[in-house]
């Protein structure tokens, strides 16, 4: 089985969001870039499956400018065998999926994250599957290979299911797919230097959506504090003032 893991390059999740003067863009000065947390878990699970046998090769792919290469090197150090970077600004999910079509054609299993933690688009995985004409499973919290076949656990609102589904398939993964993300070991970092990081030019495509500008949330009113020994007052406030219970 050949696996492709889609890797989005995002600001560290504790980043404080600052905007450029005219609120047209997110200010990236001094940002620490990381592998999108779900993509990191997807890659971790792919590496675990490879170690258990039954996976020939893991490839990672990213659509992004040169700054994403350190993120891709990290993915190689964690255990991917090779990497593609498609040299383009990821302007929207459609545009990114279009670019990924260049490399996504020949895998049995493609893994994407449920959302990128920066623009929270939840779009690329499903769009790519539809473009490829293959099936997709969303909210996947577990994947196993049994006798060369995929066993997938997916979560629904209020239930979870175990599925079998033929390949090729794209799974959109979330929490549970792996427990702790793999940290690259020294040996992995050394080996990653020798692995292929292929750079491809962008193909012609037009984004279908356009970010106009950003706003920061309005500051919140101060928290109303209730005394610890008079906690019953809280229930009264929630009932009478907030009218929510």
């Amino acid at each position: 089985m050949k696996i492709l893991v889609l890797i989005s390059n995002v600001p560290d999740t504790t980043t404080k969001v600052r905007l450029t003067g005219d609120n047209k863009a997110f200010d990236t000065t001094g940002i620490q870039w990381i592998i999108n947390p779900w993509d990191e878990l997807a890659l971790t699970r792919a590496v675990e499956l490879k170690e258990a046998g039954g996976v020939e090769k893991i490839t990672v792919a990213n659509v992004g400018s040169k700054i994403t290469e350190s993120t891709l090197r990290k993915a190689l150090a964690v255990g991917a065998d090779d990497a593609f970077r498609i040299d383009a600004e990821p302007s929207d999910a459609y545009y990114v999926a279009k670019q990924l079509m260049q490399v996504a054609g020949s895998y049995d299993l493609i893994m994407a994250g449920i959302e990128a933690s920066d623009y929270n688009g939840s779009g690329v995985g499903g769009m790519l599957a539809e473009m490829l004409g293959i099936n997709s499973v969303s909210a996947v919290s577990g994947v196993d290979i049994e006798n060369g076949e995929l066993k997938i656990r997916r979560d629904l609102d209020g239930a979870s299911q175990v599925l079998s589904i033929p390949t090729p398939v794209l799974i959109i993964v979330q929490k549970g797919i792996a427990i702790d993300p793999r940290i690259p070991a020294m040996r992995g970092i050394m080996m990653a230097r020798k692995k292929n990081l292929n750079v491809l030019p962008a193909i012609d495509a037009t984004a279908r959506t356009e970010f106009l500008n950003y706003e920061l949330p309005a500051p919140k009113a101060a928290c109303k504090i209730v005394d610890e020994d008079n906690a019953k007052e809280l229930i009264t406030l929630l009932h009478e003032d907030a009218k929510v219970i």
Binding site: Y94, N135, D157, C223, A231, L238
Partner: protein, 324 residues
């Protein structure tokens, strides 16, 4: 031309969320001089389908085909796209939940439509069609223009006040004519969480963090949730430690919820936790550390020991329920 809304039912009953998006769509339809068609897949009674009229739908397309129970994303997307084409829909709306996130991107490709997910209210502009959504897990909002003729959006729950009307709905059976070979997912096992309030649907959510100290201390929270009819949630370390089931984990890497009120006990309020709950109408914090970051986002709070506070809240909630 119309607006198509994908509705979801749970054991034959529409979710609160489905009513909310129909109502949301009706408000958009008014501004666009359009009408709302709801698409329902599964076995739902006519009474229940008629109810969608109370929220502004004028037409319901009803697909009754058991094969969809496997929730094959490819087949579902095909069905929705065919319904959209049959209705000449210019806008297709899904909920921003598991099912909506799974199908909407596929439908957008089928319809050559631009898509924006997690929209948090009525369009800020119609020409060009501009919607607002949260980015950076709630740390900012973005205004986004959709440039295509047909548009797909997923709607973030609890961001629209439901309006009731009394439309008559026209219920039609719809057969999207999906061939057998599009259904390839085999469901081997389903595990349903029964008897509990569905977390993503709950209007009141009670949540515990590491400050609850251990798995044996949840009795009080369960009792309080029972009295108030609340859903139960927890922070990530709590589910990682196995104190509570993964189903209850909320936050950036867990479930994203937006109840009317979120009551957090012994939760510090890390940015990744808040990412999953910041859309709640009210946030209440009970924490013994006055410096805990959760107080920066809370509307009401108690600085104190959860174990002292919970019994008082149970007593007060019982009294409230006895008189209301």
């Amino acid at each position: 031309m119309s607006i198509l809304v994908y509705t979801e039912n749970w054991d034959g009953k529409f979710k609160k969320l489905s009513c909310e998006i129909v109502s949301f769509a009706a408000a958009i339809a008014k501004k666009m001089n359009s009408s709302v068609t709801a698409l329902s897949i599964g076995h739902v009674s006519d009474d229940e389908l008629n109810m969608l009229g109370n929220y502004g739908a004028t037409k319901v397309l009803n697909v009754q085909d058991d094969r969809f129970e496997s929730l094959d994303n490819k087949a579902l997307a095909d069905a929705v796209a065919k319904a959209a084409q049959a209705e000449s829909a210019k806008l297709v709306i899904f909920a921003h939940n598991n099912e909506g996130k799974a199908i909407a991107p596929r439908v957008s490709i089928k319809l050559n439509a631009g898509m924006v997910s997690g929209v948090t209210g009525l369009p800020v502009n119609f020409e060009p069609f501009t919607v607002k959504k949260k980015v950076f897990t709630g740390k900012a909002f973005a205004n986004i223009v959709i440039n295509t003729d047909v548009k797909v959006i997923t709607f973030a729950q609890n961001s629209f006040e439901v309006v009731e009307t009394d439309n008559n709905v026209n219920i039609l059976v719809f057969d999207p004519q999906i061939t057998d070979n599009e259904f390839v997912t085999k469901v081997l096992d389903t595990h349903k969480a029964t008897g509990k309030v569905l977390l993503t649907d709950a209007e009141i959510v009670i949540s515990g963090g590491r400050g609850m100290k251990g798995p044996g201390n949840w009795g009080g929270l369960e009792e309080l949730a029972g009295i108030l009819g609340a859903g139960l949630a927890c922070s990530r370390p709590v589910s990682d430690e196995g104190w509570r089931s993964h189903e209850e984990h909320v936050g950036q890497t867990g479930k994203i919820i937006a109840p009317n009120v979120y009551i957090a006990f012994g939760i510090s309020g890390a940015i990744q936790h808040l990412g999953g709950v910041s859309s709640s109408k009210f946030i209440v914090a009970v924490n013994k550390d006055p410096e805990a970051p959760i107080f920066e986002v809370a509307d009401f709070g108690i600085v104190g020991d959860a174990f002292k506070v919970i019994p008082q809240l149970i007593e007060a909630a019982k009294e409230l329920r006895a008189t209301n």
